[in-house]
Symmetry: C2
Subunit: 335 residues, 2 copies
Amino acid sequence: MFLKEFGEERIIRELAEKFKVRHPRVLKAIGDDASVTVQKGGQALLATTDILIEDTHFRARLTPPCLLGRKSLSISLSDIAAMGGSALFFLVSIGFPGSVKKDFLDSLYKGISGRAKECGALLIGGNTARSGKITVSTTVLGEMPVDEVVYRSGAGKNDLVWVTGTPGESALGLTLLKKHGAGAIRGPFKKAVMRHLDPTPRMKAGRALAVKRLATSMIDISDGVLLDLKRVIEASGAGAVVELDSLPVSTEMRDYIKLGKRPFAADLILSGGEDYELLFTAPEKNTPRISALSKELKLRITPIGRIVDKKKGLKVIGPDGTEIKIKSLGFEHFK
Amino acid sequence: MFLKEFGEERIIRELAEKFKVRHPRVLKAIGDDASVTVQKGGQALLATTDILIEDTHFRARLTPPCLLGRKSLSISLSDIAAMGGSALFFLVSIGFPGSVKKDFLDSLYKGISGRAKECGALLIGGNTARSGKITVSTTVLGEMPVDEVVYRSGAGKNDLVWVTGTPGESALGLTLLKKHGAGAIRGPFKKAVMRHLDPTPRMKAGRALAVKRLATSMIDISDGVLLDLKRVIEASGAGAVVELDSLPVSTEMRDYIKLGKRPFAADLILSGGEDYELLFTAPEKNTPRISALSKELKLRITPIGRIVDKKKGLKVIGPDGTEIKIKSLGFEHFK
């Protein structure tokens, strides 16, 4: 069934039924002019919004709708994780052409719903519209004690710079998707492809780093390790040195490196985007507790460099201790 | 200057500067992964989201960018008004083609900023993306005491049905815009055209009706008087009778009626959308206080019908007391 035969009223009614919310803090979810929720006094309310647009952020033929749904929510959840918060509620606006089939929307919602349940977020509002291109806009609300919030601006001199997981895999996955099409989902690098299509927002890690007060600053890696680290040091009035040899490399990335193909792994790891891993800074004394957290969460957390004086800027150091020109790493966002 | 030469980083930096927020409850607006605001305990948090997409909701050549900015925020503010709340914060995601000029974005922001100031809403977050069509997605957060919230579901039998302003003007304006192009902004019906391009969210009226506990149910008229009234009676388990002769008619609409042109005024008033006026219900005993409020706000507020038993459904009654078939009014949303 095509959605043009379906009508917005019915789509919203189905949505409200699928995402039926029973929660003492939700007085009204979908079904009125605005959602109504009850706030805890003195808590920080976190709010973030993202938009995914067909042919800008994804290609419909390379992206199963269920995974598009998951990702659209994951990228906003990741922003909440990067503040150290817990996700509470979310709203979603979806635009699509009338020629889209009902199955597509069902899969999209299934993806959103699955990710929402995993992260404990409740749908409280939404909106649908006709659109030439598929467009998914999400807004996530989170909460946490005011004094636990981890901003980008807290990095201190000599702090270590850490990353969760193995950044660069998403960019590797995208490279392979572009080259081999949707078949790459079943190819030898399928894990990397799935890291691109279905990134994991690091909710538990972000929240734990905030509660245990282990991180002085934090950001999620949406635009690449170096660009996001640059944002942290700019906000903190600091510089940073990244050691190329310290970068965590996944098994898949290692296999890819063995093939000796372009783009080079260092490009992917340092400037590949959309990993939605966390990058954070912490004083060296916190290292044992961060290692313990890493074990507890079964999540790789790796120190990749150090915060230095502002005037040193942002540097990448090779295995022999010499500086590597960032431009030659294919990192083109900088001017 | 074209925006493709501009870069997202710089756009967001400019945005953060233009909308610089100093407020004791805003700990972090733009410039981190998520915004951080402080909540009042026990208050209801209202949240609503809308999306305007070029060629679905507006035509770029008929819509000055400043007014597009105003309207994109107004329609979400209107949802907060329809609950009886005050607007607090908002987030905005904007997608646009790289060929759009910097001036366009400046005007769009100016429009958003102007409307935000008028309604006391603060920008706390946002997002920009490349997009084939101009896309503006807004999320507005509002607040109010839990026991003052006015839902759609509270309409009681024999309550009067009221509307603010003169619904139908927006649809008249759109009709003229489509017919005469952007020149209609300076034509004889320019007020109606401006009601379409720059609707006023009824923040003061909505809030006052809630604080004074005058309304038993409320909705904003986004899809037409009858369709939105239908939503109220469905949520309230009631029926409603609308008297054609009671409908408020603006001077412009009267002049238009004199011309004897299609579409008929009744079509426009009953089923024209995008007025963003409020429709609410209230027991008859509240009439003197509603009239007093109308005078105080210098805003026309008119009773147009009455809530009746559910099994009577939704009826429109003509001047001679006979029922008018809704279909013949051009009201095609129903099946």
